[in-house]
Symmetry: C2
Subunit: 229 residues, 2 copies
DNA sequence: TGGGCAGTGATTGTATACGATTTTGAGGGG
DNA sequence: CCCCTCAAAATCGTATACAATCACTGCCCA
């Protein structure tokens, strides 16, 4: 069962994980082509598994597949970006409240450790990794709320948020959200559901306010995009 | 299955559509095995496309894939069922409100025609088709609200609701929801967002209240399920 | 000189083949 | 009579091969 398979090969899900991490850490950027042959060569597997992985990620909205043209890292439009955060605004505040009511001491410690890792990454200058962890914090809350269905949705939305941030973030400097996350954990520790709900609502509004979602033409990553987009 | 497959062939998405319809209309039931060879033979395509289709449906939660064992129509647990309706309760009321504020006369007419089709199906004794249409009504609202992201989520949730209904519905008699849908359309026509939101909230509670979600052991569709589930 | 057009290379779409895992059923032993 | 073991059959997992489509280059012609 423990598929350590270092020698032999990756499974499709491994590829999804690796690619997803790369996107979350902004090592591969929206619009980038994900050639089946190329990805397959990187991981040492045939195109069969790569195709599975890419289609899987397409369902999560992280890549977009164009028939006979291939897979690309998704490039959410301004409208997509707004929708993502509108959906998060519907799901996450109440989920945070539920989490506050159910959270255990162990979970609180886990979240604190999570924030610590965010800080470490930031201090180490690994902004991408910090961003990834920061997103996963939100997924953890859904897990703690014991809502698997919503957790999957939030995971998707956080994923796409990473793309949105890559495209529309205003400043290149740090995303000093750790303060907001700290405040949330405090509310959780007090089992203060209402506070958690309000904090999450404000946190999401904060995030959106730091985006530049004016209806300007999108940054083209290639000439093709400029002409066909 | 009357599958006189047109000459050329189906695409993977066609297969998804056909299978999904079959599930929504309760012609294939939770737990049923979906053998790759069998499905492929029915549609006249190779296993390649069938696998694509099944994996696609798995992402939507409509089928579950067990490694080396195959694909089965998903069989949501009681907890899954609760989660589905809790997620719907977070998403749909506000979406209904947004729809009420944006809806056009053409959309109103479309929804009314939709309800009419529901009635026709019921009158014709096609309960499955009526159920499918009834679910799609909720998806249409998200479309009218101009929220694609949420629309996809609601589509998934409605899908799974169909499975939940197949497993946990109390009475075998008609799902007389058309009244609730009528009231919603009325609110939409008046652009009364608050009323629409409240009606939707109540409608969802109504639906849940008609389910039997006590923590009884699930009906086993096979011996294996009884022993491994 | 600029645009249309055909040929060529590259990439994806689909089917088939082979290997791995699971399931099933029969036979022998307790 | 039940259970255990083992082999055969069925089913899924992955790789490879071939077909279809697209992108690009170079040529020809207006």
């Amino acid at each position: 069962m423990s598929n350590v398979t270092s020698p032999a090969g990756y499974t499709a899900e491994d590829i999804v994980t690796r690619l997803t991490n790369a996107v979350h850490e902004h090592r591969v950027l929206p619009g980038m082509k994900l050639s089946e042959d190329e990805v397959g060569e990187v991981f040492g597997v045939s195109r069969t598994l790569v195709r599975q992985a890419l289609r899987s990620m397409a369902h999560g909205g992280l890549v977009s597949i164009e028939r006979n043209r291939g897979a690309f890292v998704a490039k959410p439009s301004v409208k997509d970006a707004r929708e993502v955060f509108e959906a998060r605004a519907l799901l996450e505040p109440q989920t945070a409240r539920a989490a506050a009511e159910r959270i255990t001491a162990r979970d609180v410690a886990s979240l604190e450790a999570h924030i610590k890792r965010e800080h470490s990454a930031l201090d180490a200058g690994e902004a991408g990794k910090a961003l990834k962890l920061s997103g996963h914090f939100h997924v953890e809350i859904a897990r703690i709320a014991n809502q698997r269905t919503i957790e999957v949705f939030i995971r998707q939305l956080v994923s796409r948020s990473s793309l949105v941030i890559a495209l529309y973030w205003r400043r290149r400097t740090a995303l000093c959200e750790s303060h907001a996350h700290h405040a949330l954990v405090d509310a959780f520790a007090r089992h203060d559901g209402r506070a958690a709900e309000e904090l999450m609502k404000g946190h999401l509004l904060d995030l959106v306010s730091q985006l530049d979602l004016r209806d300007v033409p999108e940054k083209a990553v290639s000439l093709r995009d400029a002409l066909t987009g």
